[in-house]
Every structure is written in C-alpha cells, then in structure tokens.
C-alpha cells in the first residue's frame, strides 16, 4: 500500500501588503509560510490507510524551493516515510505544478494519490484534478470519507448544501481531500526531531508546458461601499450592535 500525498507550503499575508516592482505579485517580505491546512488532513488520511493495511508507505511530494521542505517535514513528523521535492524557485500555476508532480507520480506507481481540495492562499482547487487529467487516472474531488476495497474504493463526495454523493472509484486513483475527514495528529517533539533525518529526494522539473494563466497586475481590492466601521472600545461597539439589531429587527 503506497500513498503519495501532494502538499503545498502556502503563503500567508498579514495586515500589510506591498507589491513587487512589476505589480505582478506580493513582495515576499510581507509573507509568512505554513503547511496548507487541507494537506494535513490528506497526510493524516494516508497514514491511517497505510496503518490499517499493516504495511506500505506514505510519500509526501511537493513543488517548491528549499524553504518548502519545512512543510514537508511537518508531514514527515506526523509519520510520513519520505519526501520528494521538485525544485522550483518561481510561482507556478496549478497546471504547471501538476505537470511537475505527474513525473514524480509516474516514477512511484502508487496505489492512491491524495491532494488537498485547495490551497488556502490561491484557492484554485485544481492541482489534484489536473494531476489526474495528465496521468489519465480516475479522480474524485472533495472527499470526506474513504473505504478501501479490492481494486476500488467507496468514497463520499461532499456536495453543496449538505448533500453527499457516494461514489465507487477504481484504484489507483487521485482523491482530493476535504477538511474534517479526520482529526490530524499532532507530531511529538521526538517525531519532529526524527523527521529531520528522513529522506527528501530533490528532483529537477522537466518541461512544465505553457503557463495556463499570467498575472497582469495584482492589487488591493477597492473597498467599495464596504463596511461602516464602528469606532470606540468594546463597550461602545457592543452598544452600537444592540442599537443596530433593534433597528434592523424591528
């Protein structure tokens, strides 16, 4: 049982923002980084399946620069066995990321490939799907439950408005994992230390194909009408809320 988990180190923008000189991206000085929330659920799900199978491995794969290994190490500390990072120093669109990952998947012949439904920074919800398209693998997107069978799996696909679509999918397959599917484990200090010694194989990307999208310009969205901001301390804010509620509910 071998499960590949595609993970992303996401960028977090704080209260302040400046753009690069060409206005096509945020100045990296204003960004912090973390493991994408969806990917910790995907990693946990992979660990549980391999543990239930009794043998196998969980391999974390990612596209990014050396700093992205911080997030991969988080997954290794949770229990993943090893990592493969495809070197990339520039921002890629999700389809280019999928092209870089597809080569890794081909070389590993996994039973399942997991990816988070989406990344918290870009929210394209596309990398896992694009990967399945490139590899011509079966795909189920936005999954909240997985039961493995023989050469297939029965999964719950979470639809809008609280409806679930139960799907039977042939394996090997690509599955994109939704938050809430499990409770990701915390890594112990010992595990974090041990993860430092786990292998992360670094590979160079092949042909990533044409850019699927190009940023012309990035900007802070105009506030528009926006919210009327209530000033003052908590007591004054609470008083205004009470007045507003009375007025609007009348």
């Amino acid at each position: 049982m071998k499960v590949l988990v595609a993970v992303k180190q996401v960028a977090i923008l704080g209260d302040e923002v400046e753009f690069t000189e060409d206005d096509r991206d945020v100045d990296p000085d204003y960004l912090d980084y973390a493991l994408n929330e969806w990917d910790s659920y995907a990693t946990e799900e992979a660990l549980r399946l391999v543990e239930a199978a009794g043998s196998g491995e969980v391999v974390v794969i990612s596209v990014g620069d050396e700093d992205a290994e911080d997030s991969m190490r988080r997954c290794l500390a949770m229990g993943a066995d090893r990592g493969i990072r495809v070197e990339s120093v520039r921002t890629l669109d999700p389809i280019q990321v999928a092209r870089a990952l597809a080569e890794v998947v081909r070389s590993e012949s996994p039973d399942l490939v997991f990816a988070g439904v989406q990344s918290s920074d870009s929210v394209q919800a596309a990398t896992g799907g694009a990967l399945a398209g490139l590899l011509d693998m079966p795909l189920v997107a936005v999954v909240t439950k997985i039961e493995l069978g023989d050469g297939k799996a029965t999964v719950n696909r979470e639809l809008e408005g609280g409806l679930v679509d139960v799907v039977e999918v042939d394996t090997p397959a690509v599955i994109t994992i939704q938050t809430g599917i499990n409770e990701p484990r915390y890594a112990t200090l010992r595990a974090i230390k041990q993860a430092e010694d786990k292998e992360i194989d670094v590979r160079q990307p092949g042909d990533l194909g044409p850019q699927a999208q190009r940023v012309r310009r990035m900007f802070v969205p105009p506030k528009g009408e926006g919210a009327e901001m209530l000033d003052g301390g908590a007591a004054e804010v609470a008083q205004r809320i009470k007045e507003l509620v009375e007025e609007k509910m009348a």
Partner: protein
C-alpha cells in the same frame, strides 16, 4: 469571442450557477452556447433557454447523474466539435472533478474562482483573488488559444427573460466511467435547529479558539434572541453539528441580521451569507475579507465585545 457554458444540474434541476454564467458570458460573448450533458438533455434544456443564449447543445450520455469521467470525455468532444474561445464552468464541487483535469489534458488556459471578466482588445481578462482573498489579480492567457474558466457562484446575477436559442445535438462516445455514482445521502437532517429560518443569526468562527469557548456564545445568542450558527472550521473540529454550518458546503442563509464574530470570511463562507439583510462583523484583522461584505464592522476582540454584549442583554 464564442463562449461555451457547461450547464450544471442535479436531480433534474439546473443549478443557479448555470444562469449566472450566462450573465458572465455577456461580458465577452458574441455567441453563447450552453452544453447540457445529461441522460435526457431535453428535460433540462428548457431551464437554460434564457435571454443571451444562442444555442443549446444536447449532449446525450448514459449516466443518470453527474460523473467525472462522463463530463470530461463528453466535454472534450464538444470542445473539439465546436472550438469555442472560452469554456465556462461553475466553481463548484462537480466541476472540480473534471474541469482542471480537462484543462491540463488539453493544454487550455485556466483560472478558477473567477468573479469578473472583460475583454481588452483581443485579450480575455479575468479577475480572481490570491493570498486568502486579501489581494485581487487580473489574469490573462497569452500562451493558450482556448481558455477554461471556473466561475464563482453568486458573482453575477442569474440571466432572465425568455430565450430563443436554437438547439443542436452533439454525439459523443463515452468509455467506461471509473468513478461511478452509487447513492445520494442527506447529512445533517433536522435533528437540530434550522438556521435557514432564523431572522437573527449570531455566527462564530475560528476566532473562538477552543471548544470550551463555544458554550458562552450559545448563551449569548440565547440572551440576544439570536440563533447560533458557525463557520466550517468549528464543524471540522467536531465542536458543532454541520446543521449549524453557514457556507457553500453548509447552509445558505439570509437572515435580517447576521452578526459574525471571529469569522475571517473565506469565499465559501461568504457565498452562504452575503445576501443577509444587515451584516455586522467583528474581527481582530482589519484586512479580513468579511469586512468587504459587511454593512457594519469593528476591529475588536470578539471576547471583549461578547462580554459587553452580555451586560446589555
């Protein structure tokens, strides 16, 4: 630019995003076709014959409901048959199952969660957010001749008015579906409250921090005469049942007053509440996306405000 819209439908009904995409296409189109991929396209076609649609394509398939492989294969053949400049699909759970795969396979230009579109000469310009909705970007697609865009629900109003579309059949061949629909299950039946019927929702998000803190907001909601609702993270953590969840995967609500405490305003949450009568948002982050849809806002600590509210009720 010729536009091909993929109709989204479930259990015989066209979903609202389909008609919203017809409105979106008006920003670009000279010619707009809607592809209805279904076992019985005729049963769906009437629902998409609105003003702005020139042609409805009947794409007959065997599958009863939506299946990834069926849509991907059918659409690949429709695109090859019709050669549209732009393909529009919803930024929805169904589309996530086939649209990125198709874009990657065919080498299409691609962007998702698009909420604005325009033409700039011969170029198509699409707008979407990055970095947790804190910045927007204009995208173009200079390296591909055809573009597939996933359109944000509720970004455009649904198209209305009687249409006069002509119809045409497109024959497609579908190989075996590798991810097959088995059953629909309704989750979160009404064992709890129905938040969609409430006039006043007090809604809490990740800002509550810990499970132990949820109770005090339940009490506050009671005191204020509000119903407590939550954003997704609280359901994911198992702190509240999914029947209380507002957002794309939860409930869509439209109360008179929506008081959001400690909710940053992920796109999926906003989709479920942004048409509320009056939205009041409290968040410690002045750049939180919730303030873009709120009518009133305050940059404040939700616990301090909650404490003061308790004194007033």
């Amino acid at each position: 630019m010729s536009v091909l819209i993929v109709a989204e439908h479930r259990r015989g009904k066209v979903r609202p995003i389909t008609l919203e995409m017809v409105s979106a296409a008006k920003e670009l189109g000279d010619e707009t076709a809607v592809a209805v991929i279904a076992k019985d396209p005729a049963a769906i076609a009437d629902q998409v014959d609105v003003e702005g649609v020139n042609e409805i394509l009947y794409v007959k398939v065997d599958a009863e409901g939506f299946e990834n492989d069926v849509y991907r294969e059918a659409l690949e053949q429709v695109i090859s048959d019709r050669s549209p400049h732009v393909v529009l699909v919803g930024f929805s759970i169904d589309s996530m199952g086939f649209a990125p795969a198709l874009a990657a396979k065919l080498g299409l230009g691609f962007a998702s969660d698009v909420f604005a579109l325009r033409r700039d000469g011969d170029d198509l310009v699409a707008e979407r957010s990055f970095y947790g909705s804190k910045v927007n970007a204009e995208l173009d697609f200079p390296n591909t001749e055809r573009v597939l865009l996933m359109i944000r629900p509720t970004a455009w109003p649904p198209a209305e008015g009687d249409g006069a579309a002509v119809s045409a059949e497109v024959d497609v061949t579908i190989s075996a579906s590798r991810a097959r629909h088995v059953d629909f299950q309704e989750v979160a039946a009404s064992e709890d409250v129905d938040i969609t019927g409430a006039d006043f929702l007090l809604s809490v998000g990740r800002g509550v921090g810990e499970k132990e803190n949820v109770g005090q907001f339940e009490e506050l909601a009671d005191k204020m005469g509000a119903t407590l609702s939550v954003s997704r993270p609280l359901v994911d953590q198992g702190w509240m049942p999914s029947s209380r969840q507002v957002g794309q995967s939860g409930k869509t609500v439209k109360p008179k007053v929506y008081l959001a405490l400690g909710i940053s305003g992920a796109v999926q949450h906003l989709a479920g509440m942004k048409t509320s009568g009056t939205i009041i948002a409290i968040n410690t982050d002045p750049e939180a996306a919730i303030f873009n849809v709120a009518h009133y806002g305050a940059v404040a600590d939700l616990f301090e405000v909650a404490e003061e509210l308790e004194k007033l009720y």
